[in-house]
């Protein structure tokens, strides 16, 4: 589905991402792990088209999409949930969801059906349908942005640190949501700092450090790597 080859992202003179290559197969959940500042989010945002790539190639279903605009990536079926958890705070929950289905705006019946499905799954969103999204709690906002991304019926979901800043119980709930999406057949690239959680749901994983991929393999292999500890904690296992 997604092939990233030799990707480099620069911010001025800073090389945030260096020769990163990632593959995500159809229906797979791949986790990109790493400490703060390792370049995970930059990689994800470059795939989404929100950050410009310096060099390298991105292919989606075999077609070259390097340097595509965010709206083009969305049209090609890649939905992105950035770590900043961007609900539109002044829009109501229902309006946020309606905007998520912007690309399917002609299909009113299908959009309404999907929205109701999410309302069944997360009754709290249904209760607050007419409230401004800015009044939701952090966890509810995270559910909303994931649901909003899914309203476009994407082929692939890019998730950036969905657990960031949430209470453990809420994190569990978000990960149950991710597992649910995976079970429904959605291809997912998940960026996580929480290695244990990220590996528990993943088929395969990559570990980034200082802008490079240091470890890659099946979730089990990566979990077994002694290096994983050192990559996060700088050697103190």
């Amino acid at each position: 589905m997604l092939e990233v080859d030799d990707l480099e992202v620069r911010y001025g003179a800073v090389r945030a991402v260096r020769s990163v290559s990632i593959k995500v197969a159809n229906g797979e959940l791949v986790t990109l792990l790493g400490a703060n500042g390792a370049g995970k989010s930059s990689t994800l945002m470059a795939i989404a088209g929100a950050v410009s790539t310096f060099s390298g190639r991105v292919r989606l279903g075999g077609a070259k999409v390097t340097g595509a605009t965010p709206e083009r990536m969305a049209r090609l079926g890649v939905a992105t949930v950035p770590e900043t958890r961007n609900v539109f705070p002044d829009l109501t929950v229902a309006e946020n969801l309606r905007l998520g289905a912007f690309l399917r705006r002609r299909d009113a019946a299908g959009v309404a059906a999907d929205r109701d499905a999410f309302f069944d799954w997360f009754p709290i969103l249904a209760e607050r349908a007419d409230q401004p999204a800015g009044t939701l709690s952090g966890g509810e906002q995270q559910m909303l942005v994931i649901a909003r991304a899914m309203m476009s019926r994407p082929r692939m979901l890019l998730l950036d640190e969905p657990s960031l800043g949430l209470a453990p119980l809420v994190v569990d709930e978000i990960f149950r949501m991710i597992e649910g999406l995976k079970a429904a057949g959605v291809t997912i690239l998940l960026v996580e700092q929480n290695a244990r959680k990220g590996l528990a749901v993943a088929d395969r994983a990559y570990v980034m450090r200082l802008g490079r991929i240091e470890v890659e393999g099946s979730a089990r292999e990566v979990a077994a790597t002694a290096e994983l500890q050192s990559l996060y904690l700088g050697g103190a296992a």
Partner: protein, 295 residues
Amino acid sequence: MSSLQFVIDVLSLGSAYALMALGLVIVYGILRLVNFAYGELIMVGGYTMFLVSGSGLPWIVMAVSGVIMAMVAGIATDYVAFRPVRSRSITAVLITSFAFSTLLQNAALLFISPRPRTVPLPEIFSRTVEIAGVVTPARNLITIAVAIILLSLFTWLLRSTVLGIAMRAAATHLTMSRMLGVPANLIISTAFAISGFFAGVISILWIGRIGTVVPGIGLEPLLIAFIATVIGGMRSLQGAVLGGFLLAMIDTSLNYSLPQSLLQFRDAFTFSLVILILLWRPEGLIKGPASGQRT
């Protein structure tokens, strides 16, 4: 009687000011850039009406073509002055929008005339009506009615259509809305088209007041719109409307209360009050969306 007169004056002037401010703030809200060529959109509307009025076509054709040409000029502003340099630097956009504004004004000077041109409006604009003993020009009531209709229409557009929701979303976070598939160019061109629409309507109402069109006709509306949005809050559409009515109230109150000898200095009093409002509320009366960043 006198108080009803005051209310009508404030409402009609405020309606015009609010429409002017909305046309400016709709673009500012999304791009965080002031379109200095906004006044010239009003000028384009005015001259289009002047040119069409010579053809002997009915009045409504003249008015509609004025509005349409102002919208076209608005979209052209995006293509000529904003789009080529938008992602590079704010300074560049400020300069290109000034340049486009100067270009349009000079085109009017060169190809039409520096002198005022009369735009014949239907007789109802110059008629007066009497309400409860108060005599007022009919154009004041027309202005109020137009503002009510356009504000309702605009509110409906923003609340109930997907495009309107997308525009509100883009005003808080353009990149996020792009990641949902909303094309940035569509949103920005729509904002410029709406801005041009308001400018076109303003040109009808404003010429209804002053009777003629000159190359510099847009300067005063631009200034009014700018002040109204600064008082009301640059990032909020409700703020722009509120600012327009507040500014109209200040102007009208001064008109009523200042002695004849001081009336020529009215603007100095107005601006002093504006400064006081800004000292009290530097961000304007209504703060607008919480987040929001430039692209």
